[in-house]
Symmetry: C2
Subunit: 155 residues, 2 copies
DNA sequence: GTCAATTAGTTACATATGAAACTAATAAAG
DNA sequence: CTTTATTAGTTTCATATGTAACTAATTGAC
């Protein structure tokens, strides 16, 4: 068999973009179920709560940047969270377009319940990896993320 | 700061499920654009073509298993591919419910054009990794996939 | 054989998502 | 100032997606 012929074979199960997608979807589905079941939150709502808890007073635009969500998704997640009373919005004094977001007391309580559960799920996911392997994973993901960055189009 | 307090902090950017999701979406978006731009295919249509090219005569159900797609997505992808003439369907002789799928000549031609392009995109994505790192990546992804398997619920 | 249960695949419906248009506020140019 | 351009965020609309209901064919129990 010639080299060209060999290279022309594509096995989906060994194809990195496919494997990444399947792995990510499996993990996301599990976590999404967890958040929804336990707290009635979507993944996007949880992401918004996570960064709002970490940086109170953050704006919707900034949330979008920190969470890799587009502004429509952010807007909808915020609307839902306000409706159920987990976050509140104050219009910025200095800029009337901007609103500043904060967890309410109820939101804080939920936040503090989810964080350990989420970290625990992550720990369980990684527990089959040795500490060295966890470091490797970190490094590899950073490299791949840089490699796939839309600033540096591969395709 | 107590241990409990330290553990309670969750930084989204360092949270594996989040990082996986962002990486996978970045890669998928790039590849989806490529397939669509060059060949007018969705990712799902491409997955169906990939396995049909690799295993002619495969059924829709089997495609679902090999591609981690649900049967509705498979059905729709097939419908689209038949419509544009990339695949054809023959009802199984032995089982009238089952249909067997094949690339048409046109489908074959496209398949043979895409495969090297897809492999090349994968190569570019991984080219920042040394050969050792590529092996590590393989191993780590296998372990994570096993760890996240829905058969072994973590959450 | 006949009837209930299973399987392959499609269709219908309800929800999720993203692009583009829109509103309101601020900034920048003259 | 006033008018033009930009920015923050929301709404609209068209498409994508998943669940559940459905159709058609096969298998299994009797």
């Amino acid at each position: 068999m010639s080299d060209e012929e060999k290279k022309t074979r594509l096995r989906l199960r060994e194809f990195l973009p496919y494997r990444l997608s399947v792995l990510s979807n499996t993990v996301s589905r599990g976590i999404a179920n967890l958040y929804d079941r336990e707290f009635g939150l979507t993944i996007w709502q949880w992401r918004v709560m996570a960064v709002t808890g970490d940086a109170p007073g953050i704006s919707a635009t900034e949330i979008g940047q920190r969470t890799a969500m587009d502004k429509v998704a952010v807007s909808r997640a915020i609307a839902g969270l306000i409706e159920v009373g987990h976050i509140e919005r104050k219009t910025s004094e200095s800029d009337g377009r901007r609103s500043e977001l904060f967890l309410t007391k109820a939101g804080q309580d939920i936040y503090e319940m989810i964080v350990p559960i989420a970290l625990d799920a992550e720990r369980k996911l990684m527990e089959t990896l040795s500490s060295d392997e966890q470091d490797q994973l970190n490094r590899l993901m950073q490299k791949l993320a840089a490699s796939a960055s839309p600033d540096r189009p591969l395709w």
